[in-house]
């Protein structure tokens, strides 16, 4: 599925920092159409911060992030708004708006960006809810459902506008192994059926190997990327001991 010369998202010389505090520097990688791109690395290495940069929530200290060749941070505001409509994000906690029902949560982006009638919006909402396996829960509030269901509802909202590219921030965090596996399957299914590009921030090895087709590995000590590519290739061919230790759950590292 992944076409090597068809970059959807290009990151070039990206440096991320909070004020004077450097998070990561010199990140350069491409995310191709149809990729399931994994952003991995140990806790605190800046994975989620990278995601916040990619989706336009945080301005880079240096470098460019381009969607289809259009540099996000150099684009005028209305262009940025258009780009952001093509992005869907599932936040770590689901980030559903707690004062609204699940259906209202999913409907909001549709009300904002589409000329659809109320009835059509309701139909789209019901479709998205069914796709994530939450048919019948339209009128529940986020506080009334479980964490796994909240994530799936968040996914329904992220998919509301049929985005070209879907971002997942630690999708399996806090889920039991079965729910996590189901979510992985759902991600694969969505990629294959919708043809979206998927970017996943995770450190779940099972997910990384099961769904990842490309990746970048961030290192908290040198504060930059030390590897990239298909995670299965990295497992077999990457010589870097940190990458090996990570992908093999530290087995090589703690018992050299």
């Amino acid at each position: 599925m992944s076409a090597a010369n068809d970059p959807h998202l290009e990151v070039k010389d990206l440096t991320m920092a909070y004020g004077d505090f450097l998070i990561q520097k010199d990140l350069t990688f491409n995310i191709n159409h149809g990729d399931i791109f994994i952003i991995m690395g140990g806790s605190g290495c800046g994975k989620s911060t990278l995601l916040r940069h990619l989706v336009g929530l945080k301005t880079p200290a240096k470098g460019t992030i381009s969607y289809h060749g259009v540099s996000f941070w150099d684009a005028p505001e209305d262009e940025q708004a258009k780009l952001m409509q093509k992005i869907g994000i599932l936040y770590q906690s689901g980030a559903l708006w707690s004062s609204m029902t699940l259906a209202e949560n999913v409907a909001i982006p549709l009300e904002r960006y589409t000329p659809l009638s109320r009835k059509e919006i309701d139909e789209v909402v019901s479709l998205k809810m069914a796709l994530v396996g939450l048919a019948g829960f339209e009128n529940y509030y986020p506080s009334e459902i479980s964490g796994g269901m909240r994530k799936r509802a968040g996914l329904a909202r992220a998919m509301a506008l049929d985005p070209d590219i879907l971002f997942f921030d630690e999708p399996s965090a806090g889920l039991d192994p079965i729910s996590a596996k189901l979510l992985d399957d759902l991600i694969l299914e969505l990629r294959d059926s919708l043809g979206s590009t998927v970017v996943v921030v995770t450190h779940e090895l099972a997910s990384i190997f099961a769904i990842g087709s490309n990746s970048v590995f961030l290192d908290p000590e040198t504060k930059t990327m030390i590897a990239g590519g298909d995670p299965n290739d990295l497992l077999n061919n990457c010589p870097d001991p940190k990458v090996q230790a990570f992908l093999r759950r530290g087995i090589e590292a703690s018992h050299p």
Partner: protein, 350 residues
């Protein structure tokens, strides 16, 4: 010095005197041990290492040896240790001052953004949910009535009591009605309502928006192209600005009623007397000036609550700090604004 460090000092001194190069610890058949043993051995280990002596722990229970090995397994990360804050007094004053300027700048920025949102609303371009606006109006209007009733009634009664003691000496009890009416309408009505709303609604705004910040709900809004200012802050500010004058009118009436209760029950005034005296004491100008105060206070409570909420950090303690700051700032703003308005009114005679 406690027992343990005394023991360490004694042992190391003893080893030094004896010219030993090797210190051996044996357990002497102990059956139970806890962290006290481990901390003792770690201190001993540090000293022997420093002197280049060898510490032989092979005579210890296996569990203790393994835990000590585990504690030393991951070397301390270089540069990670942080000494407890030793910043000088001057540095701290400087940092606080810089932070103060920064906060002031960000408040001005917030005000600017809010004004833009209001302009967008007037032009019909602001994106917020009408249903949210009505829910917030319900929350900070009608639902505040019980507490406003209680406080205003008591404030009215207190004003009457205070006046009664003084005025009775002159046989001028009837003027209680004037005192209560003017006091409530011009000052106490708007002020008490504003303080109640700061504690009740300002805090709720800060906590609500702060929690939304922690839950990434604000991020989700932004990435979907909604301005948090229009979607979250605007309806809250609007609701409070609309509700504050109405709540104040209500507080005035209840306060005057409280005064009347004292006047009628304790000072033997008749209801008609009290009513006529009250009507004579207040005029439209007094009421309007009170309501103007109320509107200003509404804006201040809304701004400080929403600003703290939106600027909240991403932790539970940050939400607590935001809520505290929202209430404290709102009350300070209200009192300062009240003083400024009082001066302006005195000078202009309004």
């Amino acid at each position: 010095m406690d027992d343990r460090s005394q023991a360490v000092a004694f042992l190391s001194e003893f080893a030094k005197q004896a010219g030993a190069t090797r210190v051996t610890v044996r357990d002497g058949g102990i059956e139970a041990w806890d962290s006290a043993l481990l901390t003792f051995l770690r201190s001993l280990g540090a000293i022997t290492r420093e002197r280049g002596e060898t510490l032989d722990l092979s005579g210890l229970p296996e569990g203790a040896r393994r835990l000590l090995t585990l504690a030393d397994a991951v070397p301390e990360r270089k540069g990670a240790r942080r000494t407890a804050s030793t910043k000088s007094w001057l540095t701290r004053v400087g940092e606080r001052s810089l932070k103060g300027f920064e906060d002031f700048g960000s408040s001005i920025h917030f005000l600017g953004e809010l004004t833009q949102a209001f302009v967008a609303m007037l032009r019909g371009k602001a994106k917020y949910r009408k249903s949210d606006l009505f829910a917030i109006i319900q929350e900070c209007g009608p639902e505040a009535l019980p507490i406003i009733s209680l406080i205003s009634l008591l404030v009215g009664m207190i004003l009457a009591f205070l006046g009664a003691v003084q005025l009775r000496m002159f046989g001028a009890e009837i003027f209680i009605a004037d005192g209560v009416a003017v006091g409530m309408v011009r000052v106490m009505g708007p002020l008490m309502t504003a303080i109640i709303m700061a504690g009740r609604t300002g805090a709720a705004f800060a906590a609500r928006l702060g929690t939304m910040q922690v839950n990434e709900e604000v991020d989700a809004l932004q990435t979907m192209g909604f301005s948090p200012m229009e979607f979250l802050v605007l309806p809250r500010a609007l609701a409070l600005i609309l509700m504050m004058p109405l709540l104040t009118i209500y507080a005035n009436i209840v306060g005057i009623l409280g005064g009347a209760i004292i006047g009628i029950l304790m000072l033997d005034l008749t209801p008609a007397q009290y009513y006529l005296q009250t009507i004579g004491a207040i005029n439209l100008q007094a009421v309007l000036s009170g309501l103007m105060n109320a509107s200003v206070f509404g804006v201040l409570v809304a701004i400080s609550g929403c600003m703290q909420g939106i600027r909240c950090g991403r932790s539970a303690s940050a939400v607590g700090e935001a809520t505290t700051a929202a209430v404290v700032n709102a009350i300070v703003y209200i009192v300062v604004a009240n003083a400024i308005i009082a001066v302006i009114q005195t000078v202009t005679g309004f």
